[in-house]
């Protein structure tokens, strides 16, 4: 089966600084993968490289089909006369020039996507007035309407409360079950632990990838960070902690997400 995404040894330099070095992994259709790393570890750069916004200095990205992208947040004036359903429809034809005649087929398709993400109750509200979780659903419907093989989400859980986050994860799990590879960036892996079957862990511009239990281990992460890291499991949660033998010589027991 051709992979939905194949990233082969890409390096990216921004402003003379190497942000990503020799990062490689691949996702099969239906994979649910977390892209985990602290702020500034290069998650957004990696997503932008996959989308083609940033050209890698080495390596290449191969896609198995269309890509859907869900940005972190909509920066919108709440008064904009755009309803949730109009926004979903723009996913289908927002790039097309021509008279905007309404069409019954398109309307049915939008309706279908709105119910798939449980957004029908607020479909006729201005999108700028929706809550963070509701906007996230609309953005996901907007990305899915073109039937992508790969769905990229930039920190979708960052601005959500626990319940809304759990609902979004459940929704994305359903999406993956239909054969779409899902790649979610997050600075905290814990909300995703049960859902994700693969992980790409970014630190120091390098990546470790594989099954979660194979990657999130003391040896692997220590090698990635370049100094001793303890992986501690507490009540089905994972804490990644810089240990006493920290490379910088001082003890800090801060959780590195």
């Amino acid at each position: 089966m051709t992979p939905a995404l194949n990233v082969e040894g890409i390096s990216v330099a921004l402003g003379g600084r190497e942000v990503l070095r020799d990062v490689g992994f691949s996702l099969a259709p239906g994979a649910f993968c977390g892209l985990i790393g602290a702020n500034g570890s290069g998650k957004t750069t990696l997503l932008r490289t996959i989308l083609g916004f940033t050209a890698p200095s080495a390596g290449r990205v191969t896609l198995g089909g269309a890509v859907g992208y869900v940005p972190q947040k909509l920066q919108l004036d709440p008064d904009m006369p755009i309803r949730a359903r109009d926004f979903v429809e723009l996913g289908l034809n927002g790039h097309r020039f021509g008279f905007p005649f309404p069409s019954r087929a398109r309307r049915a398709r939008v309706e279908e996507l709105l119910s798939a993400v449980d957004a029908k109750t607020f479909a006729d509200q201005r999108i700028g007035e929706l809550s963070g979780g509701q906007q996230q659903r609309v953005l996901i419907a907007h990305a899915l309407i073109r039937e992508p093989k790969l769905l990229l989400l930039d920190e979708p859980l960052a601005n959500l409360d626990l319940r809304a986050a759990a609902e979004i994860i459940a929704l994305l799990k359903r999406v993956a079950a239909q054969g779409v590879a899902v790649l979610i960036s997050a600075h905290d892996m814990n909300p995703l632990l049960r859902a994700m079957d693969r992980i790409v862990y970014l630190a120091n511009g390098r990546a470790a990838s594989g099954k979660t239990q194979d990657v999130v281990r003391t040896e692997v992460l220590s090698a990635l960070y370049g100094y001793h890291i303890d992986v501690i499991r507490v009540h089905e949660r994972i804490l990644v902690v810089a240990g006493e033998h920290g490379a910088h010589g001082h003890e800090h027991v801060a959780a590195i997400p």
Partner: protein
């Protein structure tokens, strides 16, 4: 007020309102209020220079309006786009002050270009007015979805191959052409006011994009017609009525929205 000699004024007011009401929807959507004010103003010295050189006014207006677009596009890459817009605006107006003074066209010309002389339009003004009254809405409707998409989420639009800078240029170019045509017949103030007031009111009244565009056009038409009728009946300048009626429409729309459940 429907005498034969008033017919041209009615037609021109209708066409200018069609263009401005339609463009205004996108001005508000794209947050281009300052640019929409700056472009008609930037075109204005063109008329003065044309008078000085003895060439047709339209060419002067078009050159300066498009020059304004180039200036805006060039300076927009600077850190502070609003300050850049202000500088383009004063650069053009400074030239306007010079040309007017050199050409000896004093207050009357300034007044007519800024505030319009819609009661004085003639048959010669009709063809260009038809050009923008029909051309601008058609082009904007053809670009309706891309203009909307790139204004809402530039990043997502870029993933679908839409160039934000290119669409910006296209849109500002349309504003410039509208300004160049409408300035001598309707005045800079009327063009700008019809671009901002109706559209800002419309988005408080309806939630969906196409209806908002429709309401914006209808309000622009109503305001233009009312202003023309009031100007005819009272003998006072039409710019006064357009300015105050637009503000009133906006305030009424905001109030309606606040009072409705």
């Amino acid at each position: 007020m429907f005498e034969p000699y008033m017919l041209d004024a009615w037609i021109v007011a209708t066409l200018v309102a069609l263009a401005a009401g339609c463009a205004g929807y996108f001005v508000v959507l794209r947050g281009a209020g300052f640019a929409a004010h700056a472009l008609p103003m930037a075109a204005f010295p063109g008329a003065a220079l044309a008078g000085l050189l003895g060439i047709a006014r339209f060419y002067g207006l078009a050159v300066f309006a498009l020059g304004g677009v180039a200036g805006l596009a060039w300076l927009k890459r600077a850190q502070r786009p609003d300050a850049a817009t202000a500088l383009v605006l004063v650069a053009m107006l400074g030239l306007g002050a010079l040309f007017l003074s050199l050409s000896g066209q004093y207050s009357n010309a300034v007044y007519a270009l800024l505030f319009g002389q819609i009661l004085g339009v003639g048959a010669a003004d009709l063809p260009p007015a038809f050009g923008i009254g029909i051309g601008v809405p058609v082009v904007l409707l053809l670009c309706f979805r891309p203009l909307t998409y790139s204004a809402l989420v530039p990043d997502l639009a870029a993933t679908r191959g839409l160039s934000g800078a290119g669409l910006d240029l296209l849109f500002l170019g349309l504003l410039a052409v509208t300004s160049a045509v409408a300035l001598p017949i309707a005045g800079a103030l009327l063009v700008f006011t019809l671009m901002v007031g109706p559209a800002a009111a419309a988005r408080n009244l309806v939630r969906a994009p196409l209806p908002a565009l429709g309401v914006s056009i209808i309000l622009a038409l109503l305001i233009a017609w009312a202003a023309l009728a009031l100007a005819y009946l009272t003998g006072l300048p039409s710019g006064f009525f357009v300015g105050t009626l637009s503000a009133a429409a906006y305030l009424a729309a905001r109030l309606t929205r606040r009072l409705s459940p």
